[in-house]
Point group: C2
Chain length 451, copies 2
């Protein structure tokens, strides 16, 4: 990063790149109009009434230039039963996006390409208030209305800056891999604090847990590091998915940026992927033991896959710790293959382990312990600090043995369990360098970790 670039100059340069120009706006408007018409025609063929609303950042002029996502919601009467809602919704979706495919959130919806844009066509209920929703998506039009009523061009530009900043630091997106700031949350924060700069200044000084309630109507408490009560629903924390680390990440980069503004925070360089040789060098330098479990990635959408992988990685790390091995750091990555990558600072244990029994004075319990071990191969029982202690044979003496013999016994995500039961490969130390072929960028970030 270069030193001392002036805040205004940096922001101007970023706006050059993130503010959509007139042509992009006009093109988008035309495409949205065409989608709306097609949807309304399809609705005319249905036995119920429905309306069409555009939502999301492209509806509010808060998208960053080059984003090609359009969200169109079709709102049905709230007394329509679920089966019909789904059936009519898919009918409209298929009519608007004949090349599209079904996806599943709470309801099925249709997603597809349309004139170069990625369009989601989502059925929902037209409820009277966000607190009456029958399905999570029913809330979205209220979010859209709330923000649209409070936005002007200047504020929209500030929101674009903040969103691009979050993208640059890797904290944008409420998907379950990132667990960062959603677009709606980002916009609410800028609305609350008044500008991009004020938002960063506020975040830099946060002391989590941070609680914001723009409409001052919250009526329950949340156990999250960041709480932003939904202006359209007093029972909901818009920031529920945001991790403590992503809050900290925003705080860290807000401070750094305000101290020394730089365009690079918004558009960071991608790290150069490591090759196998570079991975081996890192492992040599660190002197750790690496174990990588490689298996066929379960066929799941990312929002299901990554929580499963993370849960499985946590289970493996806990299992290794319970077997007295010590994990320095761990990560999980996926493309066609999935990988649980574990780096150990203690990967070997001797053949015996210390096992502490009850205090000798707890007569019955102590006698049971003594009888259990007195006539075995264990060393002892002997007495240490008034307790029986034995040194008994250890079942697993290396982390590699643990992974080869016990992996399926640890807490794993259900789909990961199934995939591992089909077989997996364990890459140890230098052999793990082969992961560079598919995960060179991930390994680069792993071995050069930034906040």
């Amino acid at each position: 990063m270069t030193d001392g670039e002036d805040y205004d100059a940096v922001v101007a340069a970023v706006r050059e790149r993130v503010d959509p120009d007139g042509r992009e706006r006009r093109e988008l408007a035309t495409v949205v109009e065409r989608l709306r018409e097609r949807a309304e025609r399809a609705i005319d063929d249905l036995p119920v009434d429905a309306d069409v609303v555009q939502v999301g950042s492209t509806a509010r002029d808060t998208w960053t230039a080059g984003d090609r996502d359009i969200d169109v919601f079709v709102r049905f009467p709230p007394d329509l039963d679920r089966r019909n809602l789904e059936q009519y919704g898919l009918a409209v979706g298929e009519a608007v996006l004949p090349e599209g495919r079904k996806e599943y959130a709470e309801h099925p919806y249709v997603t597809g390409e349309f004139e170069g844009y990625t369009v989601d066509l989502v059925p929902c209920y037209r409820v009277a208030a966000a607190t009456d929703i029958q399905s999570a998506v029913d809330r979205t039009p209220f979010h859209n209305e709330y923000l649209a009523a409070r936005l002007d061009d200047d504020l929209a530009a500030e929101m674009r800056l903040f969103k691009q900043f979050l993208k640059g630091i890797g904290a944008y997106g409420s998907d379950l891999r990132t667990r960062g700031f959603s677009g709606y949350l980002a916009e609410l924060l800028v609305l609350e604090y008044g500008s991009f700069r004020a938002t960063l200044a506020a975040a830099a000084n946060w002391h989590p847990p941070v609680e914001l309630d723009p409409e001052d109507h919250g009526r329950r408490s949340f156990d999250d590091p960041l709480v932003v009560i939904d202006p359209t629903d007093p029972e909901r924390n818009v920031a529920a998915v945001v991790t403590e680390s992503n809050v900290a990440r925003l705080q860290h980069y807000a401070r750094r940026f305000l101290a020394e503004p730089d365009v690079e925070y918004f558009f960071p360089e991608e790290p150069t992927p490591l090759d196998a040789e570079a991975v081996r060098e890192q492992l040599d330098r660190r002197g750790t033991t690496v174990l990588a479990v490689r298996f066929d990635a379960p066929d799941l959408v990312e929002d299901q896959l990554y929580p499963q992988l993370q849960r499985s990685l946590d289970g493996l790390v806990r299992g290794l710790a319970a077997a007295d091995f010590e994990v320095l750091r761990a990560a999980t990555w996926a493309d066609d293959d999935a990988v649980l990558f574990v780096e150990l600072s203690v990967a070997e244990r001797p053949a015996v382990e210390r096992h502490v029994g009850p205090p000798v004075h707890v007569a019955e319990h102590a006698a049971g312990f003594f009888e259990k071990y007195a006539y075995t191969d264990a060393y002892g029982p002997f007495i240490d600090d008034g307790r029986y202690v034995v040194e008994r044979e250890r079942g697993v003496t290396s982390a590699e043995q643990f992974v080869r013999e016990r992996l399926l016994d640890v807490g794993l995500g259900a789909h990961v369990q199934t995939a591992l039961e089909q077989g997996y490969e364990v890459l140890v130390d230098a052999a793990a360098a082969a992961l560079a072929e598919n995960f060179g960028a991930e390994l680069a970030a792993y071995f050069d970790p930034s906040p």
Copy 2:
């Protein structure tokens, strides 16, 4: 041990061996009389009055057969100043035991061989009560009087049984290596419970802390696992030196013996010393790393040497733990050489260590941490659970390196420190088997630990 020997038969067999016969008694009485005469003659040459009292188990008929220790105390007037007490005391000691040598407790005294017995000739003050003592040894004659007034032949026999039992299980002796039950304490317990068997039955059911106060005059509390208020001094715990483990040891063996009486508890077989080959086999089987620090033993009496060695061993174990190595077990032994013997279950660490910094939101502290590491070779800072974390280079990556480079920095006994500064040898793994030459019996007990 053989099964099912009957309690009475076992006790009878033990009494055969521990009750002194008439000849031993008569011989002892003759020797004591001769000592007394010699002491009284020496006192006649002094410018002060003094009397001679025999104390200890040979004075009370509670010694076990074959014990050859006689304690003779010379009591001086309480207004005699310390220098004269010491001078006169030594004069008497040297007259009685011309071949004897000076030893130092609170005062100097003379110890020596006399007609086949080991005699301590100790000067003290003839105070009015044990609570008026000017020196710890002044108390001893009161202990003797208290017990002598309450003993008969049967009770003395019960005391001999209990003492021999304590010897057999390795818990006899208030010296600072054993930290077990003194003769006086053993006798008080039997006096309190009424018999050897009742003492074991009571001990088997103890729930430490155990508090006994035979004269019901205790007026302070103690933080010891076993408290026996001295019948001659309400401020003193006779069992202060007894460790939790020795209390537990007595409880363990009391239960075992009562369940299955056997002479062997009183006269256990000595373990066969291990040779170097057997030590290597043990280390192979256990798969641990052994480090032994060998050095010239400081020239100290055992009651000073063993606390120093133990403190040094504790310091080394704590130092290793603070450097992230894990000690499975450790021991210290001495003859001409002293040894700190440490067996590790984690003896190696990678080149990097995880170092957790402050939460990112603690702005000033966090910024200091970030600035400290951001421009170094350390990996990170990155963010984990909302905190800055780095992986930095580790100073010491093996326990052997620690012992070679840092041993003198750990908490050591002062005399051990001085001895180690003169030089020490580090024996690693198989090389430590060479210790079998001098410490074969200790190694045998180490690798076949009993309660």
